[in-house]
Symmetry: C2
Subunit: 246 residues, 2 copies
């Protein structure tokens, strides 16, 4: 079995209101082999967020008391902190410049996914898409291939960030081997593989962060591709009462 | 840029004392295109552990008082719990059958990496290699390619497991974009990418858990391949005083 990851060439800078599906379809058309129904297109969320207008100019943000306090304590622009608070259901930890938040979607990540880099213009910040699974479904409908929308998340206990799936359509987000047998016939107890997150990570390997390559075609994952949208990346959120680390 | 992941064919069942480097070299020789110095060979730790004799028969384990207590409280075989405690520096959480441990290496994972599946014979459990970075260095010296040794770890807050790097030689485990500029010239603040973990995840996508495909060749990561062993996967361990989630 082989899996191949390839960046879509020549995608322009994306702006609010752009038809991202159209831009991606054009770019995929320029790729040798095009885009097949069994391919997975992995898209960095920033272009999705921008196309959907999920950006905010810091100049228009009036920080409240809590944002000013958290900003002062953590060496962060209070306007940026206000945007982070607006995107958060809960702040889990605030420590030495790091704000670990639960977003309204239920993602646990730094700064509630609010990103001050790559936002296109200075003083603009990019938010996560409002409903990344819905964004993935819309792109899948337009492109006729599975779609994963990603962001870089830090991890508890490990240094560095990995790209993970925040939205997903047409790809099974999890492969469940629990209760099934391994090569020796022994039951696999706890093997429940986060396929969509591994796909996000694989795609990130072909990308340099200073390049404009937000979209990567993964070929070779046909066994995980679905006939419908599937449960989406929401299936990857651990339920609060199952969570040992909040 | 393109990255390709391909499973090494025909690796036999590995047993304690086997020369894993030799077995991998033979299998790589049967692969079209062989193994190049810029390739990354991603190896599931179980075959490394088995070759190194890092297996224990449960029948020979005498559980102590704490193992019996934790076993009773969590519905686990107290002998297995004793092995887990032997591999742990600290138990972070014990809840509903889940033991989240800090291993002697510093990894935070379920059951201290002790695995009761795929161990070759019933009632044998597999431990993590004693020094996975050293194991990776030895394999790199034999194979002449970068080596990543992996395990499946669960994640705080997210459902399912991802393959991550527990040992690494010849591959830069992290790519540091902090202080560098993105495509728009804006400084990237917190982009520190866990390349070795993303490589582990990418390799896992070509593997079915019921197959015997512990070794995957990744081609296309030359820009992350080093002239020496590099810092290893130890560089991916977050220092205790930087950790917000213990």
């Amino acid at each position: 079995m082989t899996v191949e990851a390839l960046a879509l060439p020549g995608l322009p800078e994306v702006r609010p209101g752009d038809d991202l599906g159209e831009l991606l379809a054009e770019a995929a058309g320029r790729l040798e082999g095009g885009l097949r129904p069994t391919d997975v297109l992995v898209v960095a969320h920033k272009v999705v967020s921008k196309a959907e207008g999920r950006v905010r100019p810091l100049a228009a943000v009036e920080p409240g008391a809590r944002a000013r306090e958290l900003g002062d304590a953590n060496g962060k622009d209070p306007r940026l902190v206000q945007v982070i608070l607006d995107e958060s259901a809960e702040v889990l930890r605030a420590d030495r410049g790091r704000l670990i938040c639960v977003t309204h979607h239920g993602f646990v990540c730094a700064n509630a996914g609010v990103d001050a880099s790559n936002a296109g213009e200075r003083e603009m910040v990019t938010l996560l898409p409002r409903d990344p699974d819905a964004s993935a479904r819309a792109l899948r409908a337009r492109l006729g291939a599975a779609v994963v929308i990603t962001d870089s998340f830090g991890r508890a206990w490990r240094v560095g960030q990995c790209e993970i799936a925040i939205g997903c359509a047409g790809l099974a987000p999890l492969e469940d081997w629990r209760g099934r047998a391994d090569a020796a016939g022994r039951e696999l107890v706890a093997t429940h593989i986060a396929i969509a997150d591994e796909a996000a990570a694989a795609a990130d390997l072909v990308r340099a962060k200073d390049s404009r390559e937000p979209a990567i075609r993964l070929r070779g994952l046909a066994r995980h591709v679905l006939d419908d949208d599937g449960p989406g990346a929401a299936a990857l959120l651990r339920a609060l009462d199952e969570d040992l680390f909040r």
